[in-house]
Amino acid sequence: MSTPTVGIVLVSHSAELAAGAAHLASQVSGGTVTIIAAGGTDDGDLGTSAAKVADGLRHANQGAGVVVLPDLGSAVLTVKAVLEDYGEAATVLLADAPFVEGAVAATVTAAAGGDVKAVAAAAEEARHVRKL
């Protein structure tokens, strides 16, 4: 399809966790959505990197906006700090969602052509879906 889909940025304290969640979400959604894993610090330690998040936003935005999913508390702070300096903040939504389930739900909705609000809502609804 020629219409761009919403991009996803996964911000985790762990590079492996972000990459693994991105791989899983990509496999489940059919591989058509740009998902950027922004995990770990610039030195490769556990933590988050404003530079990785900023790069992720640029690469994930294919013209339809971006939904960002943080894993734990300070990842949220890093994302918020980056968004303050980001030029097109209106097209970027920060989703308050479980990391893995939210990543999968958001990516599937993006693959179906949902807009940023629909994609963020799909991620946040993941909080209410029971596994058992």
Partner: protein
Amino acid sequence: MSASYEQGITLEGDLHARPAGALAVAAGRFAAVISVTAGGHTADAKSVLGVMGLGATSGQHLTVTASGPDAREAVAALIAILSEATKVGG
């Protein structure tokens, strides 16, 4: 008032994450309200987590129900995906 359509299928494989994803991606492209029912539980076909949560397995009967302007096409498309995607498992 728009018509409602329904069709059933017996799964040839388990409804794992990837077939559930393919189903939800396809469902999300339709305007119709679409649900999937298996084993007495019903999920929104556009919610991949809901579809996965059905835990539908090989040999189980699954029903796709849709209502809305493109309901007929939606049911046909999703039944085709279920028929194809669960053959090899996910």
